[in-house]
Symmetry: C2
Subunit: 480 residues, 2 copies
């Protein structure tokens, strides 16, 4: 087992998560082969290991979409400039970030889609005639472009990213609001059940709403550095786009009505959250349900034991194929080198097998998150592997929830608010609802913003910012 | 059952496939809800029914990719202009079709990718160091943009389309050529096994090669109008891109080598082939394996029988859920209206159920392609439905093969060649291999082109164009 690669430097992380979180993140993204910078400033290459997480998200969510009767479709990348101008708030919100095509023909400029409301609703206006055509529920998986001027970071803020955007149309406001909230719940479930990440569901303040929305709901996670990360949004769009794009339907009452709409999305940003929330000083830790390859088998042998050990390893690989288990049978790498590599890449379980194990009809199972080693009878693997994966998922979610909670401080006064935010906390506080208070927070509390307002609002007190009477509760904090 | 919609006009096709093939195609695409024109000239909206076929293709092909150890990834939409210029033949081939971004910053122009060789190989140059890194096999599913000046047609020629592009790197020419051919075989399998379409696999003539390729392989179908449709290509790229992008690896011999590369792709154009090959005067006919919803249950009842019939229909729906079977229980539409709708949309099987059927514990099963009606015991459905779907697949493929064969005429002389092409045939002929002969065909035989050269070349004779000695056999014909 002393191959040429023996002397090769194991490219592990050179900083700890605790000491330099930002540099640690960059190293995990690149060294775990998740993504790479592109020669085009602010754009990223999603490498196969990173992309496989996105595919797991797609698979999970496509199943949910089918259950919710949302259908996938695909709309054009290019949007005529005039479409943007139809809904003014939307136009103002997005114009600074739009990349334009130098159109080869005469005629108006074409935008590269930053989001697809306008191009989709122009089509909806042609498709929708009667109340029988409603609800219309369409989703697309697509790339979008927003010409960020802020510093870009892989997965968290890039000029091009991948996302899904759902766009539904309803006959009534009630139905629209109900489903707008339902999609938010779906996002929370996606984060918790697939990615093992606890989030704060809530409603955005007016100033943080999506451009053109009546109401925006969001889920936000809190990262280990105390900054919150918006991980998904669902917008109740009201009738504004319907009016702007001339969408109407003939109701059961025989009259023309303008329908209600929502739009909602999650993006490759979720991968950034997975890295930040679960990773450790050895690298990425993949939440088991989001890992296509849930376990790696590392065979350990001297040259004359190779055939026996590999044969047994392959048998186990085959019996656990539904979990995407694979044998790392590469020559010229030591078992230790392989351990490090798969730890860096975050494979949830490692199965070690050597001649002594085979003699005892067992393997050693190692969990990526706890490093706990357990000898397991080979005949029990079919039962134990799924058990350990489930256990790991639930414990990771629990730790994520604990981390979320530990980063929230309830405050009553301005002094407490500022101090908590400077102490890398998200604060929960009563708020009067005035924009001036939000602006004061941004200006005087290290740039903190209104994250969101918990869905269940209860109690009343004094606004932590201006001390006036308040019936709203909000989360404030630094944000990604 | 006399709902409001009773009087609504059934929007079936108004032309026959035989009489006006081009208009028939346009009507099927739009009336079967497959795609719609976009306000941006030459771009398309892929509607849910059309997109679901693309999803079936993705699912089938992703499984094949996994078996072939090809990994999915995602590369940026934008490509710096300087990248294009690195490989001259590639640059010349694509430049006229590139859409450019009006870049907001100083610096070079950015292209919207027409294909991703350049942006991917720039990254490969960083990733590949040693023979241990080879073969590298990466695929991406993406949108690409080619600013077509020819007339665009939904699915067949649009300025933006969806595709997969595989890009692999090998240590040796042999391995590269072998896999370049293997991917072509995979495309042939995809067409035959999933889409039930017979194709002609072959090698392109030099003048029809991909810009920058050493060799291009293709599969081409022949459409009912006698024009051939290129449905997939696989390019042996040689070492040209490797040299241009500075890709090299340290071989086992301790020396630096330039690797060999291939690229290969199929696109949403395949949907155009499905429509043209299988459709009929009632609309689309979906090949069963490419249909997510393989059967529709249409309940037939008078108002007082509704509950009984729907209950039974739902039971059948549930028992056949693995085939995506669904009940059309919409009120206000007659069964006949529903029959027409699902025929237009090409659902492979229709299951009719009414009170008399229930009394006899049976349903009536109707095949979309043959209209053949068969009474089937409800208890046999679980066995008969998959049987009928498989039978339908094989018969559709057989018919497609017969159509392909019937459109090919072997010719010996120039006169025969011109006459066959004018007679809507693809011709098979000996060819000396000279470009001047290809040009003569294009200029004097209704613009026909060299489709491809069959993989198995045998025999020799006189070139049908110039009468000189020829050892090559080629297909010539009008093309999409």
């Amino acid at each position: 087992m002393t191959g040429k690669r023996e002397e090769a430097h194991q490219e592990g992380l050179t900083v700890s998560k605790e000491k330099d979180f930002s540099e640690w993140y960059t190293q995990v993204v690149q060294k775990a082969d998740l993504a790479d910078y592109s020669p085009v400033k602010g754009c990223m290459i999603i490498k196969p290991h990173g992309y496989s997480i996105w595919e797991q998200i797609q698979q999970y969510f496509n199943e949910r979409l089918r259950a919710l009767k949302v259908k996938n479709a695909y709309f054009p990348l290019f949007i005529p400039e005039s479409f943007f101008k139809k809904e003014m708030a939307h136009a103002e919100g997005f114009s600074p970030e739009v990349a334009w095509i130098a159109n080869k023909e005469e005629g108006e400029r074409l935008a590269v889609r930053p989001t697809s409301e306008t191009v989709m609703y122009d089509a909806y206006a042609n498709w929708i005639r009667s109340h029988r055509d409603l609800p219309l529920r369409i989703n697309q998986w697509a790339n979008v472009v927003r010409w960020e001027t802020k510093q870009t970071r892989l997965f968290l803020r890039t000029r091009e990213f991948l996302w899904q955007e759902g766009h539904c149309v309803y006959a009534t406001q009630e139905e629209c609001t109900k489903e707008t909230e339902q999609y938010l719940q779906e996002y929370q479930k996606l984060c918790e059940e697939l990615l093992a990440i606890a989030v704060l569901p809530g409603r955005k303040s007016e100033s943080e709403r999506f451009a053109g929305a009546m109401d925006t709901y969001s889920i936000d996670g809190i990262m280990p550095d105390g900054k919150s990360l918006q991980m998904g949004t669902s917008h109740q769009l009201g009738q504004g786009f319907g009016k702007a794009f001339g969408i109407s339907f003939l109701g059961e009452d025989g009259k023309k009505h303008i329908p209600w709409q929502n739009s909602w999305g999650v993006s490759t940003r979720l991968l950034g959250a997975v890295i930040m929330v679960h990773g450790d000083d050895k690298g990425l830790v993949l939440p088991p349900r989001a890992a296509r390859q849930k376990a790696v088998i590392v065979p350990i042998y001297k040259e004359d034991e190779k055939d026996t050990v590999l044969k047994e390893a392959k048998k186990i690989e085959k019996s656990l194929s539904e979990y995407g288990v694979f044998v790392d049978d590469r020559d010229g790498y030591t078992p230790g080198w392989k351990f490090n590599e798969w730890e860096l890449k975050g494979i949830p379980l490692r199965i070690e097998i050597g001649p002594k194990d085979i003699a005892k009809k067992q393997v050693v199972l190692v969990r990526r998150d706890t490093s706990k080693k357990t000898p397991i009878a080979i005949s029990d693997l079919g039962k134990v592997v799924p058990q350990q994966l489930e256990e790991m998922h639930h414990e990771m979610l629990k730790r994520s929830r604990a981390m979320l909670t530990s980063h929230i401080t309830s405050v009553k006064t301005w002094k407490e608010l500022v101090s908590a935010i400077n102490n890398h906390q998200v604060v929960k506080a009563f708020w009067c609802g005035k924009k001036s208070c939000e602006e004061k927070v941004k200006a005087e509390a290290s740039g903190a913003r209104t994250i969101n307002l918990p869905l269940e609002q209860k109690g009343s007190g004094l606004c932590a910012i201006c001390t006036q009477k308040a019936t709203l509760t909000a989360y404030f904090g630094k944000v990604y």
